[in-house]
């Protein structure tokens, strides 16, 4: 058996001297998996993404990414934030080029890659637009295209579609899976939507809160490629019900 791509071993996390956010969390993720992190607010799922990305230090325990420290492995990862985080003074294509520009790639070459990524997310007609001219869903597409320019091994997504309407969210879910067929990245996906988690993931990690612990890892049995039909099948609905039940068991009832 090959060693896991991301290995999280007994990780504790607290901010400063604050309360414990993550408590002895361990999780191994193999190359090519799509892992969704789901749980009540305050369970530390976004924090876990930040630790993997080395945007925040681990308090105790160890994380390795591709057998390196998260900081050393940062070039193999891309982060997609809750907000599209586009630079309003740059056009769409110049936003997508940003990671390549920072890397020092020449103008023609990076424009070519950016254009290809925009084509992939269906926005090649809006390359010269400014972010303010785009809808919420289009902005998120630009954000995805920007993350893909570096061909990351690992994509970290922090509730990227939470602010979108359901139709747009479903479509972007389908597109994300289609892109993954081509780019083969391993994904960590934070979400509050059970249906979204089931549709996207190979594994769903359910976390409990105060402090954040790993409650249960649920494998999702449906083969890729998944389509609209997958979402409509009774087996899919059944799986959603199952995961919802587990999620309810870790959510405080006093809300």
């Amino acid at each position: 058996m090959t060693s896991p791509l991301v290995k999280i071993s007994s990780v504790n996390k607290r901010y400063g001297r604050g309360a414990l956010i993550l408590d002895a969390l361990s999780l191994d993720v193999a190359q090519g998996e799509f892992v969704s992190l789901i749980g009540p607010s305050g369970c530390g799922k976004s924090t876990l993404l930040k630790l993997i990305a080395s945007l925040s230090p681990v308090t105790e325990g160890l994380i390795t990414v591709d057998e390196k420290t998260p900081r050393e492995a940062r070039e193999e990862m891309a982060f997609i934030f809750q907000e599209p985080t586009l630079l309003p003074w740059r056009t769409v294509i110049r936003n997508v080029e940003l990671p390549l520009e920072v890397k020092g790639m020449g103008h023609t070459k990076r424009a070519g890659i950016a254009e290809r990524m925009l084509k992939l997310v269906g926005l090649d007609h809006a390359m010269e637009h400014y972010p303010r001219q785009l809808s919420g869903g289009m902005k998120m597409r630009v954000s995805i295209a920007r993350a893909l320019t570096l061909f990351p091994k690992i994509l970290l997504l922090d509730e990227p579609f939470g602010a979108l309407d359901e139709m747009t969210r479903d479509r972007l879910n389908e597109e994300l899976l289609a892109i993954r067929l081509a780019q083969k990245f391993t994904a960590f996906f934070v979400t509050h939507s059970v249906a979204e988690a089931v549709f996207l993931s190979s594994h769903i990690v359910v976390m409990s809160a105060n402090p954040g612990r790993l409650h249960k890892t649920i494998p999702v049995p449906f083969p890729y490629p998944r389509t609209v039909e997958t979402r409509e099948s009774p087996a899919f609905q059944h799986c959603v019900t199952e995961v919802s039940r587990v999620l309810r068991s870790v959510t405080p009832q006093t809300l």
Binding site: A53, R74, F79, V102
Partner: protein, 261 residues
């Protein structure tokens, strides 16, 4: 219709004010040295145009130099304070002290240090324009969204790239706000400077100096003419900044997009 109103309403207000002015003056028989009529002022301005124009030129030179100096040094100071919290904490209280001390008190000191004339006028303008530029630009440099900073860390941007590609463009609208405030008060700096140090070139000085001369000679319509000249010069500054603001922001910034809907 709406576009016509935009011009029509202020023009109408102006006419009403002029009518009230002329009406009050005639109705109450107000004498010229208390309140001259608009036409009298225009005539005085025409008669004094050579003096007023050269005075305006002197004042504008001082105000413009001080304004540009404040912008350049303001940007540099903001960069220093925006990029290092330690330097910001060290310097900011003293910039505040500089701002809190009335510039009128600096003026005589400056005359002693720099002598009367352009350097002093420039320096006084610089003093009053500096603070709004520094305060706003620094704010812009440090108020970048945390997620954007994280994004730059994720793509392994070095600190210089973070400043040039993220912080500086983000601070641009803040800088322009500071520049707008500075532009609207630059003439005050110039005229304050004139009042204290205006008698540099023999018998004529800047607008502030001419105000003193007209006051001494009880030339009240000329005094008003000098006032309107200063006001007009102020508009030149503000138009320049508004033009620059539009040029730099119209493609992407909400402040401009919304206003032209």
């Amino acid at each position: 219709m709406r576009k016509n109103l935009k011009w029509f309403l202020p023009v109408l207000t102006g006419m009403l004010i002029l009518a009230a002015w002329v009406g009050l003056k005639a109705g109450f028989g107000i004498r010229n040295f208390v309140l001259p009529g608009p036409l009298t002022i225009l005539r005085a301005a025409a008669a004094e145009r050579t003096v007023l124009l050269s005075a305006a030129e002197i004042t504008i030179s001082g105000a413009a130099l001080g304004f540009v100096l404040a912008a350049v040094i303001g940007i540099l100071a903001s960069m220093v304070m925006g990029l290092s919290a330690a330097l910001r904490l060290s310097l900011y209280p003293y910039i505040l002290i500089l701002q809190m001390t009335p510039v009128i008190i600096f003026a005589p000191v400056m005359v002693i240090w720099l002598g009367p004339g352009l350097p002093t006028v420039t320096f006084i303008t610089f003093l009053i324009c500096f603070f709004p530029i520094v305060a706003n630009t620094t704010q812009g440099l440090i108020s970048v969204d945390k997620n954007l900073v994280d994004l730059f860390r994720m793509i392994n941007a070095d600190p210089v790239q973070e400043v040039i590609l993220l912080r500086v463009p983000h601070a641009l609208p803040y800088f322009l706000t500071g520049l707008k405030i500075a532009g609207s008060i630059a003439m005050i700096g110039g005229i304050t400077g004139d009042l204290f140090a205006g008698n540099a070139s023999g018998n004529s000085g800047g607008l502030g100096y001419m105000v003193l001369v007209y006051e001494g000679e009880l030339k009240v319509p000329e005094l008003w003419a000098a006032g309107f000249t200063a006001c007009f010069c102020g508009f030149i500054f503000v138009s320049f900044v508004l033009g620059l603001n539009w040029y730099l922001l119209h493609k992407w910034h909400d402040s401009i997009i919304k206003s032209d809907l």
